[in-house]
């Protein structure tokens, strides 16, 4: 018996020294003894696929084609009276009017339908809240929380001596204040100079919300005295 217990103790020590305890860091792919249907041969988001030359599950749209809705709404997309909001209201997506000039204000119509007609687009408190949320995630990194161009990228570039110190724009300059809304929208979508576009990250609605919030920021940093609420005025003095 003592011999068996000694053997068991050795086995336990050997197992622990070989396998360690829970939470042990390892670079090895987890082992699946019975993997059941854990890993199925199906297309997955951002999955790898040896069948295609670029090795991706995700297929880029065919050149020269326009997406007609998503795969989640085939019945709607292929029904008789289907209207594509982006085609009916291109200036909402491009920021330009029919002649190709940037629209000065906000688009008149949105991308949503009521009874087959496009709804009016209105900037509301909700729009500004969305715009602030997105601005603080995507824009403030460079342009700063106040839009003055002093985001963390500028600070780090100053420390590290990177090019971004001179290329990051302040949104409070007279030049950018004078931009029509459509041009601001275009910069958000496609980028400008060294800034890359955020059209892949923000939907058209969110981009217009960001434009609205940038306008609010510009007003906040250059506010005519008569617009300041009296309570705030007292604090300033």
């Amino acid at each position: 018996m003592s011999r068996y217990l000694a053997f068991l103790a050795v086995a336990v020590v050997a197992t622990i020294s070989f396998l360690g305890f829970q939470g042990k860091k390892s670079k090895d792919t987890p082992v699946y003894v019975f993997d059941d249907m854990d890993y199925q041969n199906k297309y997955k988001a951002q999955g790898e696929n040896a069948f295609f030359a670029d090795g991706r599950d995700a297929r880029p749209p065919v050149t020269g084609t326009v997406a007609r809705g998503t795969g989640l709404e085939p019945t709607k997309v292929f029904s008789a009276g289907y209207q594509r909001a982006e085609s009916l209201n291109p200036s909402f997506v491009t920021g330009k009017d029919a002649k190709g000039t940037f629209i000065a204000g906000f688009p008149e119509k949105s991308l949503s339908f009521t009874n087959g007609k496009l709804n009016d687009y209105k900037v509301s408190q909700y729009t500004l809240d969305v715009g602030r949320g997105k601005f603080q995630i995507y824009c403030a990194v460079c342009h700063g929380q106040a839009g003055d161009g002093n985001g963390i990228m500028k600070v780090r570039s100053a420390i590290e001596g990177d090019a971004a110190i001179v290329t990051i724009a302040s949104l409070q300059t007279p030049l950018i204040r004078a931009y029509p809304n459509g041009q601001l929208y275009d910069v958000v979508t496609n980028g400008k100079n060294t800034m890359m576009g955020y059209g892949d990250k923000l939907s058209p609605e969110e981009r217009w919300a960001v434009v609205a919030y940038v306008r609010a920021l510009q007003l906040s940093q250059n506010c005519p005295p008569e617009l300041v609420p009296s309570a705030v005025k007292a604090q300033i003095k």
Binding site: L19, K27, M37, K44, G55, I137, I152, R156, A163, A164
Partner: protein, 233 residues
């Protein structure tokens, strides 16, 4: 023990076919079996679950991206999680960022660094960077990031303090009981939606968490499924 064995092996009063040691054998076998059973049960409990098999999986990535430098309030840059994982609140899948996302900043910041050579190559050729997936659930589990993130379930609940990790490793088991812990008691985990990407957030006290959480469960009509088809199909 020794006394017990001496007693069992006491001299026989008359002749016996078997060696004396045999008297103790049934008891010894029983004790050995019991000890073996306990050891095996402990080993299964320790090793045969995701807590051992998956937790701690920290593979090398093709590009040594350091979350603790880039993301979160304590980091140098303080990026929001969603700057890179930008579809997490819109899609069931939380995307690994495109190379273009890296290049938004790195076209200006250290574009020629050897650490970024693969990113630069990917930017020039369009070839994908083969990031190694760390957090996996089986393919018959349909986890939806957007519905969780938009209802106050923080990244930290499943991914841990990614914002403190230099190399990302799995910190939570992600097994089914782990899911059900929260699905059965959502009020213990929900937080204000604007704190979802603040991984350091903690309610003022456990009581405050329960109070806030109960309010969120009510206000947002949170009703986490506990049926099979809620997650499996």
């Amino acid at each position: 023990m020794r006394k017990l064995l001496d007693f069992l092996n006491r001299p026989a009063t008359r002749g016996n076919f078997f060696a004396r040691a045999v008297n103790a054998a049934p008891l010894q076998i029983l004790v050995c079996l019991l000890i073996t059973a306990v050891v095996v049960a402990a080993a299964v409990n320790e090793y045969a679950t995701n807590k051992y098999l998956n937790v701690g999986y920290t593979p090398d990535q093709p590009v040594a991206f350091d979350h603790s430098f880039h993301a979160g309030p304590d980091s140098v840059l303080g990026l929001d999680c969603r700057y890179c994982h930008n579809y997490v609140d819109k899609s069931s899948h939380s995307n690994v960022p495109t190379t273009g996302t890296c290049w938004n900043c790195h076209s200006q910041v250290k574009p020629d660094s050897p650490a970024l050579a693969l990113v630069k190559k990917s930017m020039e050729t369009g070839e994908a960077i083969r990031w190694v997936k760390v957090h996996k659930v089986p393919d018959y589990v349909y986890f939806n990031h957007a519905v969780h993130v938009n209802r106050g379930v923080s990244c930290v609940e499943c991914h841990g303090r990614i914002d403190q990790q230099v190399v990302v490793g799995q910190q939570k088991s992600l097994n089914m009981s782990f899911c059900l812990d929260c699905h059965r008691n959502p009020e213990q985990f929900l937080r204000p939606v604007d704190k979802v990407t603040d991984l350091a957030y903690k309610a003022a006290s456990p009581a405050a968490q329960t109070a806030d959480g109960t309010k969120f469960v009510h206000d947002w009509k949170v009703n986490p499924p506990q049926s099979c088809s809620g997650c499996h199909r």
